[in-house]
Every structure is written in structure tokens, then in C-alpha cells.
Symmetry: C2
């Protein structure tokens, strides 16, 4: 099944194309046109002729693409700009007639709800203040224990803030005072914000994604991954303080910020910094998922595809998209866990490695999709870049390294590239878990679950692993024994498998 | 359809599992056990009991895997060791009864034929001497104009050479003389070798693959790709001269050589060096495809899936395996070629870039399979690692870079990593072709072939590209114009698209 999701925002019009099979989804196209429908709206209360024309051209192009790839379902929504324009009916009618698409105008509360769905289903965060800063509106959701307890939509966004306070170039002190005053005033009207005790703010929207990108660029952060990038409120402050003194020309050269967004950047950052201060936020988490992903999750929920855990869903999604042998993955995961749990007295690692074990075991073979030959290394690459949701970047990286070292002594990718994310202890952790995964994989080398489980006995100089199998697994044991040397290095004991 | 191919050799028993759809194939598992069936055969003329038992255990494990993944077809073949053993019927019967697999014993000529099929269909080489050095036999094929004109199978291989001349440790001068004398004698009996004028030797088999790996390791070659690795005969000589003076323990530490092969390594290298000298070979090309791939191609041919060109077939294979939008790929390829051909007076690149253009254009989107976000970079990775056949490593790398820079100004992967393969001019070539591919992709952004072709007019300061389209492609032109700056840098002219 193919789904097209169109989001007619105040700043840009975007479309993603999504393929859905068995409750799994894969985004396979993403288009964006900067139509700026919200421009001038603050003054005239209307969508401008020219802006509407540009939007129509964009939507026509999108529609041709939809027809070319053959989508079954189109979900088109419009947000604040269309919502508040007095001439919205003219625009909607034109889209209906000239493009052949019915656009649903979302209320601010609906928008907030889809943001909440996106965060709930894609981040391993239970309590957070969610903030989506768009071109003309900002949605705030208070999520507690994965439930939406409060929500609000405010008519302030990057475009109207920039227009109202003339933010596209160096800020004068009086401008800044007016802006901050306005923002404090707006946010302080929301009573429930005072009760919000979540230490985490999850940020959604293009500006916030840019903010993360800028921060990664200035820190030479080793991964180019937006989703679940974690920032300190100080970082936001620093970037804000720098940018506010810059001219538009200078802003256009900031690494990580797109030129077309440079004039609109400051308002949202100010808003974020005000709310961070107001609510005592300790950590900012960037979400790569937003309104459009919320609409996907909503669509899935309507088909009764309920997502219980972002990580599990993500893994299932990737395994499904890449035809992985599920039975083998599950068996390897089971054996890996069993070895991990029983050898705990030797490695001392705790349950906080659960997500890493799961990811590395269930996806260890995904690289076969690229090429069987060298597949552990391809698994490393794919785990790192597949957009897995529900892991911190450190967890993601360790999972990738472990999968990348299965069937080998070590993953060949140089650890020093990622030293910002990994400690010196992590190298040992990766080796430890890597050898256990390799052994687990060897023990299910015939993919037929001959070895059902293992039982480990630890002695002073030896670890004896007894296989519980349906028939004697000579070759599997033989295969696992090739890791004897690295096992001895990591655990300081001789390996015996019987 | 799932196919299992089992190859019972003198040194190892291997199995690959292959998925076939619409004439495309994908190897998704490869198992190897070093059973050394050929050991002792030289002296006793028989397969040893213990060796047969080990082989049976291995085949049973393979069979369990076959059953677990559900293969439709099993093609099991045996080569020289079984072929010449006086007790082969006992072994074959045991395999039939205890494992349930019928093994076909190939004649030396049949083996040579499958080697030929493998090379013909996977390398862009028309004339070559093909040499497959196995554990107990060596096949030689003279291929002219992609046709097999001569073939022979000789009963000499890594195991029997090592046994007969005691090659597993430092070689004494008298041993070396005896070995070389024997090899010259064997090869000089083949009359047609004297008529062989092919400058290229294509090498097949584990030892030859190891030789390539050793060469890559000692040269810090930047790609870990076996197939179509090109070597100078001097390299073979150098490695031979070094290894012959080394003890077994030292050989086991050679980077690139597997421990289990160290004692058998020298004989095949000597054979290769003798034949290289005898036939005046100027270049050695390593083939990653051999007997098993030959059997796949034979299987395809029986279903009337004829492979006309290794590269075309490879691209179709990858595009098929990754669900690429073929129409979009073809349109982008067409527009890319059209821009390339018409702008030749500016870039001066010739038809030798044809394969690169084709690969980069048809596979530019393959990275979407990993993640839409960042997909040009994933395309870079996938093109480099998917085992594309029919391109030199330099062509492969340039294709990957071009695909990796589509939709961007530049591919982010540092060129200096690959300086052994790329010249300083190649950086400019990559930029030139990268901007043309980006423009071509933009012009089919709606994937519906609105822009059918382009016509370019070059003036002193401007290049004007006129689109021939079914309707005015405003957005496509707009999208392509984002490459105006890099176009100006590369071509020294202003870009106009109308």
C-alpha cells in the first residue's frame, strides 16, 4: 500500500511518500517547496495571490508524482496559515478543482495531537514537554507517562515573529527586549505550563532540526543523525547569543542552517530559550518525527496496528523491509541474552544494555541486503543509518559495532572516529558483547534452532558452555570455538563448548 | 525461488544460498567447512574414512539449513577429489542415503566450462586465459571474444602439490627446482597454451583470492573488493619470493591469508607464476566468481535468462533487489547522457565514461533502501559494496561518488581516502558528472518524465538548457537551478534553464 502525506505549512509545503506492508512503513520520497503561504498574513489576514499560485504549482507537481508512483491514499492537511486566512475557502476550492486533492484543515489541537503521536511512537521518552515551532504557530503538549495531559496551539511561529519583530538581521537591544517580553507574556498565559515538571523538552520542526544541525556542526559531532539528538539548554543559549548579533548575510553562512531559513531562524530559537527557562528544562531532545509521522502513526492506529515500543517497532520495520530471517534473529537474540545473563559475574554489565543486545542481535544480518560478502560491516552501516528509533546515539553506535563484529574478531571501523560518543570503557564493552554475539550466531549457524539454549559454568580458568540441542551440534560448536582466543582475551578464561 | 548450490571440493565444502526473482539473483548465505577431502588421496587413491565422516557431518548441517530456509532446488556438485577417488561410490551413496542429496560429479571439462560461464558473465573481459586452481585440480580455459575456444583440467592443485613437494614450510632450492620443473612440464604438454595470446589471466579459486587480499593488504589498497582486482605479474613474483622463504608459523601471520590455508598457499602461487611466464601474461585479474557462480548462470540460462552484459545484468539485479523506480532511473539516465553528450565541448570527456554514467544514473536512488534521509550518501556506500560486476574499481568508485553527490553540491566522503585509485583530475571529473546528474535528477523530480529531453546551447558566458516537456516544468527547472553556482564553478559559465 502506498500513502502520500502532504503538509501545507506556513513556510513550506512538504510531501512524503510512504510504502506500507504489514504494519511496517518506509518513507521513500520527501519533497519540499518553500512556498511561504504565511507571508504577509499577519498584515492582510489573507493568503496572497502569488503565494496561492506557488502553492498550487507545487501541489500540481506533487500530484503528478503521486500519479506516477501510484499512491492508494492521499492525506493532505493544512495548518495555521490556511487555518487563519480569511480567504481559505478560495484556496481550498482551487486545490480541489485544479489539483484534485481534498485538504483537511487541522485545528491547532489536532496538530498538537499528531505531534504527540509522533513523539510517543518514535522516542523512548515518557515524560516531556513537546514543542513544535512552525511558520505561523507553535504547539505545546505536556506528555506524562506517554499520555497527552495538556495541549495548546499558539499563533506564533517563525514567519510572524520575524515579521512582527523584524528579526532577519542583527538584533538591537530594544528589539530583543520587545521580543522576549512578548514571548514571556504568551507563554505565561498558559496556566498548565507552571505545573509542567518534565525535565525534557522534545523539539519538533524545521527550525529546531536546524538548531541541532548547527550544534552538531560546531561540535564536530561524529553522527549526522537528527532524531534523538540531545542538547543542553546552554547550547541553545550560546547559539542564540551568537546568531542574534549576526547580519542576514552572516546567518546564511552558518554551517547547518539552510539559506532559505536564515531570515526566520531567530524567533523560534528565542521562543525555545524562553520556554526552556520558564519550565526549568534540563535537556532538549530533537525529534526527527513530527506532524507527518504523526499522521502515519494515526493511519496505522486506524488499521489497528498499535505500536507498543518505538524500538521494537523500528526493528520490526527494518527487519521486515529487508527480508531478515526472523526465526534465526530471534534464536540468536535468545542465545545472546542467555550468554549475557549467565556470564554477568564476569562482565558486570547490567540491564541497561538490553536495548543494545536486542538491536544488535535482531539486526545482525541486515547488511546481507547490501551484499552477503562483508555483511557484518554492511550491518554496521545500516544499523547506524536506518533511522532506528528508540535508542540514544551511543546505544545505536554500540549496537552497530557489535553487529559489525559478528563472525569476526573485531569490527573494522575505527572507534576513534566516534570518541565523542564512546568512552574508553565502551571499547571493551563492544568487544565483550561482540564475542558473545558471534558465539550466539555460530550456535545457530544452520538457522534451524538446533541449539535451543546454553548453560554456562564458570571456573577459575575456564568457562564451559553446555549446549542444549535437539542433536549434537558439532559444526556449530566448532564454528563458535573460533572465537576462543578473543574470548580468552576478554574474559581471561579458556572457552570450552560441549 | 530459492536455490542451494553445494560445491564439494578437495579442500573445502561450500554452500551458497541464492534467491532468484525474475532472472535476478541474490546470494544470501555462504557457508564453508574445510573438510579437506583431497588429503591423502595422492597416496591412497581413496577418500579417507575420517574425511568422509567430516564431509557427511558438514552436508547434514547444510541440509538442515536448506530445510530451515526452504530451498526449492539443490544443485550439488563434486570435483577432482571425488572424481578420482576409487571409493567415490561409497561416499556418494552415503550422501544420498544419510543426507538425502544427489551429488553430481563434474568432469574436469565441465568444471572448466562453469568457470568460463562465471567469468564471461561477471567480468568485462573478452579475451583471457582463465585459471582456476583448486585443491586437487587446475582448470584452464582460453576465452576469445567471450567464447570458450580451449579448455583443460589438470590433476594438480594446492593439496597434492603441497603433499608431493612438501611445500608447507621454507622451501629449499632443490625443492623449488623440482616444483618448477614439474609445473613447466605439466603446462608445456598443453599444446594450445603456446597459441594463447591473451594478455590477461583471470584467476579463480580461494588461493588466488587470498593472493589478491595479500596484495591489497601490503599496498594499503583502499577498497576491500576481490572481484576485478587487477595485479601485475611482478606482484605475484614478489609475494611468491617472500612466502617461499617463510616458515609455516610466519605464513600463518601473513595479512590477508587465512590460517587454514597457509600450508597450501605456495603451490598455486608457483603454478600461477609459471603460467604467467609461459604465456607472457601482462595482467592478472582476480575473479570473485567461480564454479558456484557458473552454476547459477547455467541455471539461469536453462530458464532462458540470457545475460548479455555483466554490468547491465548487475545493475538490473541491484535495481530489482531494491525496488528502484525503473522509469525514473531510465529518464534520469537519458537526461544525464543528453547533458553529457551535448556539453562535451566544455568537459571534453569521452565515451569511456559510458559505464560510469549508466551506473550512477540507474542506481542513484538505491540508498533509499537504507533510509530516504541522507540517501545519496547511502547510495555511495551501496554502489561501492553491492558487488557490481563489469566495472573496474576506479569506475566503481567514480560512479559511487557521482551518485553520492546527487541533490547535493558534493559527496561528503573524503576523496583523499581513495587517492590510490583516483587521480587529481578525477576530483574534477566527479564534480562535473555530479552536477550533471543532479540537474538530470531535478528535471525528473516528479518521476513522471514531464521533461523528455534537453537541448543545450553554449555561448561565451552562458549555457542555456531548453527543456522539451509535456507541460512547463517550473518546479523542476527551479529545482535544477539550485546547482547554478556549482555549475558556474565547474563549467565557467552561467546556467540558464528554460
Amino acid at each position: 500500500m502506498k500513502l502520500a502525506i502532504i503538509d501545507i505549512g506556513s513556510n513550506s509545503i512538504r510531501m512524503i511518500l510512504v510504502r506500507m506492508v504489514d504494519g511496517c512503513y518506509k518513507i521513500y520520497n520527501d519533497l519540499k517547496e518553500s512556498a511561504r503561504l504565511g507571508e504577509g498574513l499577519e498584515t492582510t489576514g489573507q493568503l496572497g495571490e502569488e503565494h496561492m499560485d506557488r502553492a498550487l504549482s507545487t501541489l500540481k507537481m506533487f500530484k503528478r508524482l503521486i500519479d506516477a508512483v501510484g499512491c492508494d491514499t492521499i492525506i493532505a492537511v493544512a495548518t495555521e496559515a490556511v487555518r487563519k486566512a480569511s480567504n481559505k475557502e478560495i484556496f481550498l476550492e482551487a486545490v480541489r478543482k485544479k489539483v484534485g486533492i481534498d485538504v483537511r484543515v487541522l485545528s491547532g489541537e489536532e496538530e498538537a495531537f499528531f505531534d504527540f503521536l509522533a513523539v510517543k511512537n518514535s522516542l523512548p521518552v515518557s515524560d516531556a514537554l513537546i514543542m513544535d515551532i512552525g511558520g505561523s504557530s507553535t504547539e505545546l503538549v505536556y506528555m506524562q507517562d506517554k499520555k497527552m495531559v495538556e495541549k495548546v496551539s499558539l499563533p506564533l511561529g517563525s514567519i510572524n515573529l520575524a515579521e512582527r519583530f523584524d528579526l532577519s538581521t542583527e538584533l538591537k537591544p530594544e528589539q530583543e527586549t520587545a521580543l522576549k517580553h512578548f514571548l514571556f507574556h504568551q507563554f505565561s498565559k498558559i496556566n498548565w505550563l507552571a505545573t509542567c515538571t518534565a525535565p525534557v523538552l522534545v523539539g519538533i520542526g524545521g527550525t529546531i532540526r536546524s538548531l541541532g544541525k548547527i550544534d552538531r556542526a560546531r561540535k564536530n559531532y561524529p553522527l549526522d543523525i537528527t532524531h534523538y539528538y540531545q542538547m543542553d539548554p546552554h547550547d541553545v543559549q550560546e547559539i542564540y547569543q551568537t546568531v542574534k548579533r549576526q547580519s542576514l548575510v552572516k546567518r546564511q553562512k552558518i554551517k547547518g542552517l539552510s539559506k532559505s531559513r536564515a531570515d526566520l531562524f531567530l524567533g523560534p530559537v528565542a521562543a525555545l530559550s524562553v520556554i526552556t527557562e520558564l519550565c526549568g528544562i534540563e535537556e532538549i531532545v530533537i525529534s526527527g518525527s513530527g506532524l507527518r509521522e504523526g499522521l502515519i502513526f494515526d493511519h496505522l492506529a486506524r488499521q489497528e496496528k498499535i505500536i507498543r515500543d518505538p524500538l521494537d517497532y523500528s526493528i520490526r520495520n527494518i527487519a521486515g523491509n529487508h527480508n531478515l530471517n526472523e526465526k534465526h534473529g530471534q534464536r540468536v537474540y535468545h542465545l545472546f541474552r542467555s550468554l549475557f545473563d549467565q556470564l554477568k559475574p564476569l562482565h558486570h554489565l547490567g540491564p541497561e544494555y538490553g536495548n543494545i543486545l536486542k538491536t544488535a542481535a535482531l539486526l545482525h544480518d541486515c547488511g546481507i541486503n547490501i551484499n552477503y560478502y562483508g555483511h557484518p560491516l554492511h550491518s554496521f552501516y545500516m544499523i547506524l543509518h536506518s533511522g532506528i528509533q528508540g535508542l540514544t546515539h551511543r546505544e545505536l553506535l554500540i549496537s552497530a559495532y557489535i553487529a559489525g563484529s559478528h563472525r569476526k574478531d573485531e569490527c573494522k571501523v575505527d572507534l576513534s572516529r566516534y570518541q565523542q560518543l564512546l568512552s574508553s570503557q565502551d571499547a571493551l564493552i563492544i568487544r565483550t558483547l561482540g564475542v558473545l554475539l558471534s558465539m550466539a550466531e555460530s550456535l545457530d549457524r544452520n538457522m534451524s534452532s538446533t541449539v535451543q539454549d546454553v548453560s554456562c559454568r564458570m571456573e577459575d580458568h575456564t568457562v564451559t558452555i553446555k549446549t542444549m540441542a535437539t542433536e549434537t551440534p558439532y559444526l556449530e560448536i566448532n564454528d563458535a570455538m573460533q572465537f576462543k582466543n578473543i574470548f580468552a582475551k576478554v574474559f581471561g578464561r579458556d572457552l570450552r563448548i560441549i
